[in-house]
Amino acid sequence: MAKITLDNLAHSYLPNPKHEDEYALKELNHDWADGEAYALLGSSGCGKSTLLNIISGLLHPSQGRILFNDRDVTNAPTAERNIAQVFQFPVVYDTMTVHDNLAFPLRNRGADPAYVEQRVQQIARMIGMEETLNRKARGLTADAKQKISLGRGMVREDVNALLFDEPLTVIDPHMKWELRTQLKSLHHEFGHTMIYVTHDQTEALTFADKVVVMYDGRVVQIGTPQELFERPEHTFVGYFIGSPGMNVLEASVTGAQVVVAGMPVDLGQSYGKPTGKVEIGVRPEFTRLSATEGLPARVRRVEDVGRHKIARVDFHGQEVNLILSEDQSLSPDMTRLVFDPAGINVYADKWRVPPEGEAA
């Protein structure tokens, strides 16, 4: 296992990039701690696969260095980096049995046959394919093949890191649960350094110790799931994480008071006088409706999502979402919107403004 360091790393797919805009991956410095599970989260085109490909050595960065345990591997080919990778679509040898597919990375490195046997059995149990070990991979369903890819990615214990690029895209929801839990227990057990690329927030949040959120070629926040939920550093993080995402409303802030659509709301904490485009962000989980207090609004519709409900509320022409519990119902006189002060974040030009006195 290894610590992975990104040193002044940046990448452009153009030969002579001049502007920052021309970089698919903007300058980045980061240490991936040894043995941690990370998720790289962002929408398509945000640079997350570019970054993963640089770490794996499939792509040479236009600038900066990459180090494994402080050793410079920037120019080392993928094979020398000693990493395991699992891609979005299954990569299996169709003519080989499931067993031989799983054994391949070990045999390839001349592992002891008894060890290979024991390890293949262990992995097969993990991915639930003990019964199909002697079948040829050809003719198996896409998700069975992807399970083989996952298994093969995890079969070697001596890799520097495990890299996953959207590995569960082709897997059914129920199986996703099982495989994700397996990955998680595997990490718990062996402590591999893992980097998991996904656009799916649930996968990212539930898998990782730390989530790296990328937006437009830039890392906008690295944090635990709780930090990303409670204190999104950028409005994009607020929007991207959470279903529905954070409500963002234009506002003006002075000290501990915010004015939204001409009406005052108490913030509970003082923010000085932020400048630029000032907005407040409040997650649907911290927003509720009341008959007696708050800002006038109109409920447009309520969607029943099973375990909770989502109310879509019109507030001065803008849609504000809020979450109601499964057994909560709305009375027609609940036409006021209340924001829980503890759940309000203040933003200036899309970046979070810390309240006075918050440790940086």
Binding site: S43, S44, G45, T141, A142, D143, D172, P173, H174, W177, R180, T181, K184, S185, H188, H199, D200, Q201, T202, L205, T206, F207, T224, P225, Q226, L228, F229, E230, Y239, F240, I241, G242, S243, P244, G245, R283, E285, E303, D304, V305, G306, R307, E326, D327
Partner: protein, 362 residues
């Protein structure tokens, strides 16, 4: 105006893809086909479209038997998981193509294309080629083409599966709005329970080639008629516990038991499967008659505002979804609680014996 499947079935190469199925879909409704991969969603859609002819049974469209009629003659629009557009044509021409084939006038085509493009937020991109668009825009182009066709039957086969999560969330909210104006029959296949709930309308739960239940979406979710539907319509999966009711006790495992409370106290003696959804498992006792279980905590997953707890209860895997961020030690036994109002009772063969009390109140 409706589409009726009357005893249709489909066997291919000796394998049954669809067992004898009866289904009636009404105009102006959204109908979700919910089930895992290979449960028969696409097979059923192909029968509805006329791409396949059923072995048995009839397809009745607007009162007329269309069972062998070619798909071209039926007025059907389909959107697939893969974004299918004509790569050499502009977005405008892509959207216009079905209407041109129908021989509409230039003005009619123009009006319809612009309206659809506007709805799908494609107006700025009409002159571009599909490959110059993002994935979401490409799929919106395919959806716009299905829309202008003004087909009586629109089949959407996992149309958002290849899109980014957030984009999916946004399009999912748009699709019912867009199509509800059109008055057609919509059929939407998905593997995701949450997607079915967000789309609303009716849901047909599918399992291994059988429609296990069909009805209004929230009703199918809250009042599944069997354990299979409950399992299909629950993500994370529904938790199950084999129990034996005897006197006032529910026994499970190696002779462990809890006092049967609430409606469970009324149950006749015998063997059952008790089912409950992850969000109803609790880490603290909230009601007096909550049942207490001891299970081993294997993994926790934190979503930011909630925590998934993965438990081993006498060899059965349970998942709980609890509010807040819980930092719990792994590998230890913990107590979990279940309000009897949240428990579904199924017979050993899976048929519903008693619905969860909360679901009847909702």
């Amino acid at each position: 105006m409706s589409l009726v499947l009357e005893g249709v079935s489909k066997v291919m190469n000796g394998q049954t893809h669809i067992y004898t199925t009866d289904l009636t879909l009404e105009s102006g409704t959204m109908n979700v086909l919910l089930g895992p991969t290979s449960s028969g969603k696409t097979s059923l859609m192909r029968l509805m479209a006329g791409l396949d002819v059923p072995q048995t049974g009839k397809v009745i469209w607007r009162g007329k038997d269309v069972t062998g009629m070619r798909v071209q003659d039926r007025g059907v629009a389909m959107v697939y998981q893969q974004f299918i557009n004509y790569p050499s044509m502009s977005v405008y021409d892509n959207i216009a193509s079905p209407m041109r084939i129908l021989g509409k006038t230039k003005t009619e085509v123009d009006v319809a294309v612009k309206k659809a493009a506007d709805l799908m937020q494609l107006t700025p991109f009409l002159a571009r080629k599909p490959l110059e668009l993002s994935g979401g825009q490409q799929q919106r182009c395919a959806l716009a083409r299905a829309l202008v066709k003004d087909a009586g039957l629109v089949l959407l086969d996992e149309p958002l599966a290849n899109l980014d999560y957030k984009l999916r969330e946004e399009l999912r909210a748009e699709i019912p709005k867009i199509f509800e104006e059109a008055g057609s029959i919509f059929v939407y296949a998905t593997t995701e329970p949450e997607e079915a709930l967000l789309l609303g309308g009716n849901t047909a739960a599918l399992w291994e080639g059988r429609v296990t239940q069909f009805g209004p979406t929230p009703l199918v979710y809250r009042q599944p008629v069997n354990a299979t539907t409950a399992r299909v319509f629950s993500d994370p999966p529904m938790n199950f516990l084999n129990v034996r009711k005897s006197g006032d006790r529910l026994f499970f495992g190696d002779g462990q038991g809890v006092t049967a409370t609430g409606a469970l106290a009324e149950l006749a003696n015998g063997n059952y499967q008790a089912g409950f959804r992850p969000n109803h498992l609790e880490l603290a006792r909230h009601t007096q008659d909550a049942m207490e279980f001891t299970a081993r905590l294997q993994v926790t997953e934190i979503t930011g505002s909630e925590t998934f707890v993965h438990l081993d209860h006498h060899g059965a895997k349970w998942v709980g979804l609890v509010h807040g961020v819980r930092d719990l030690p792994l590998g230890v036994l913990i107590e979990v609680y279940l309000d009897p109002r949240h428990v579904y009772i199924f017979a050993e063969d899976g048929a519903l014996v008693a619905p969860a009390a909360y679901a009847m109140a909702a």
